[in-house]
């Protein structure tokens, strides 16, 4: 079959596809335009501008520029902490999720029960409580008190691990029975089959949703600020906001950071997703 022959028989279809492409591009451009409009409106709302048009007086929200100049740097200094907490937690959570997912595939009852018990307990209680548990209740169990940072990472890891085990379980079961059977028929042990055949394929399935979990974690990491000892974005914003009675400005700066990080990491994640799906399937 030659390509020219294909092209001839497909010109009509190609025209339609091209038109659809154009429509889609136009729509995307319009959406982007509206985003700019909404964003500018938001900026205007907080610009402090006063407009007098005869009988109509419009007064937008005024912010204390001096406060912003003084404290924006301090609040932004929490960004590395926020990313570090989220990054460490997503790694530990992934390990926990993998172990839990494998345990949930076990037909050995105590192992299966341990996995379901853990996920039920964690999913049945609030993340906020879990963070405080490792911070406040921990010493009462007879252990050395945990620093706020450690308590936060432990709680976030356990919490996300429980939710993400479902993703990993789906990833593992997305690998077909035929794959397992041909691995076994070639003489692999169960462990070899899992390591060499099932997990590498499951991983491709698991990476994109794990990216989403990381993005959610960036924001949930703000709960760790409640321990009062972790200098991430939220802690810094509330601290200076309260002290100076400028919660609005402080929280807006924090919000912009969370939003920006979400947009950046979402973009990275969609790039990653495209690369994974282009792989050999």
């Amino acid at each position: 079959m030659t390509t020219t022959h294909m092209a001839d028989s497909n010109t009509q279809a190609q025209r339609i596809l091209k038109q659809q492409d154009r429509n889609q591009r136009n729509f995307t451009l319009k959406v982007a335009g509206w985003w700019v409009v909404f964003f500018l409106f938001l900026v205007f709302l907080f610009s402090g501008v006063k407009i007098d048009l005869g009988p109509i007086h419009i007064k937008t929200i005024t912010m204390d520029q001096e406060f912003i100049n003084e404290w924006a740097g301090f609040i932004s200094g929490g960004v590395p902490q926020t990313i570090l907490i989220s990054f460490l937690s997503i790694i530990f959570a992934s390990i926990l999720a993998l172990v839990t997912a494998i345990a949930r595939l076990s037909r050995f009852s105590p192992v299966y029960a341990a996995a379901t018990f853990y996920t039920s307990l964690i999913r049945g209680t609030p993340l906020y409580l879990q963070i405080f548990f490792f911070f406040l209740a921990w010493p009462q169990l007879g252990f050395e008190p945990l620093p706020g940072f450690v308590a936060g990472v432990v709680a976030l890891s356990l919490n996300y691990g429980a939710y993400m085990s479902e993703i990993f379980r789906a990833g593992i079961s997305s690998v077909s029975k035929g794959q397992r059977e041909s691995a076994l028929a070639l003489g692999m042990t169960n462990g070899q089959m899992m390591r060499r055949i099932v997990l590498p394929q499951a991983l491709r399935f698991v990476v994109p949703p794990t990216g989403n979990e990381f993005i959610a974690m960036l924001k949930d990491s703000s709960l760790v600020s409640a321990t009062g000892f972790v200098q991430e974005i939220m802690w810094r914003a509330t601290k200076v906001g309260r002290a100076n009675f400028h919660g609005l400005e402080a929280l807006l700066i924090a919000a912009l950071w969370y939003w920006a990080m979400t947009i950046i990491f979402s973009w990275l994640q969609s790039r990653l997703e495209q690369r994974m799906s282009r792989g050999e399937r």
Partner: protein, 253 residues
């Protein structure tokens, strides 16, 4: 000659379903045996019992002198060890190819020799290239499976099984998932294999292949072998009415 595959009084139940009923079979070295029969007659299950992808309910399986006699549902550690060795001596080709999609063709071939047998990488590559050449696909060496046609995938799957240097090859309807125009190339590779003296147990609906290559044809019906013979005799003069009915329908297509 001692048989290379010996199945004795094999029973297999799936819950209430009695899939294999006291089946016995033996295959001599270099022999090519074709099993025919309707879908659901148990032929696939029998093949899968030989390398324990299905565990028989009871009966014994012997491959190249390695014997597992199944008496109860839970195999002993020693039996599992033997079972594992049986798998090392049997190659299997599936209807759905089951190539590993995350590995290139050559990686598909060396995976088991390296991981399972601990063969050094360069030796495994040499071995893999030999068999890849044998199935005529050296030019696809570094492609990924999704870039191959169905026929090419199945030829790679055959080469992958051969790279473990098995004593017997099990084929579970190797051409049933293929477009008609791709069946020929796979059968050609299988014929070549038979001519080279490989012992083969083949489930197939390709009567021409059976006629050309098989030493024996067995007809399975509802979990039992009800007739066997040379392909010439089976196809021209089936004695059991059920065999005749099956062949009539197949040959009329």
């Amino acid at each position: 000659m001692t048989p290379i595959v010996k199945v004795t009084n094999l029973d297999k139940h799936f819950g209430q379903l009695h899939v294999l009923k006291d089946v016995s079979l033996s295959v001599e070295p270099t022999e090519v045996v074709c099993i025919i029969g309707r879908s659901g007659s148990g032929k696939s299950t029998l093949l899968r019992c030989i390398n324990f992808l299905e565990q028989p309910t009871h009966g014994s399986i012997e491959v190249d002198g390695l014997c597992v006699d199944v008496e109860q549902a839970r195999l002993t550690g020693e039996q599992r060890q033997v079972l594992h060795e049986i798998r090392l001596h049997t190659g299997m080709v599936f209807q759905e190819f089951n190539l590993f999609p995350h590995l290139s063709v050559i990686e598909n071939l060396i995976e088991a020799p390296v991981t399972v047998k601990g063969l050094p990488h360069d030796q495994a590559i040499a071995l893999a290239e030999k068999y890849l050449d044998q199935v005529g696909l050296m030019f696809k060496r570094d492609e990924f499976p999704n870039r191959l046609s169905g026929g090419q995938k199945q030829r790679v799957a055959i080469a992958r099984a051969l790279t473990m240097e098995p004593k017997v090859m099990l084929f579970d309807e190797p051409t049933s998932a293929l477009d008609p125009e791709l069946i020929g190339e796979v059968l050609e590779v299988m014929k070549q294999l038979a001519r080279n003296g490989m012992t083969m147990l083949v489930i197939t609906h390709e009567m021409d292949f059976a006629r050309d290559v098989a030493n024996r044809v067995l007809y399975m019906h509802e979990g039992e072998f009800i007739e066997e013979g040379t392909p010439a005799r089976m196809f021209s003069d089936p004695r059991d009415p059920r065999t005749r009915q099956f062949l009539d329908r197949l040959l009329r297509q």
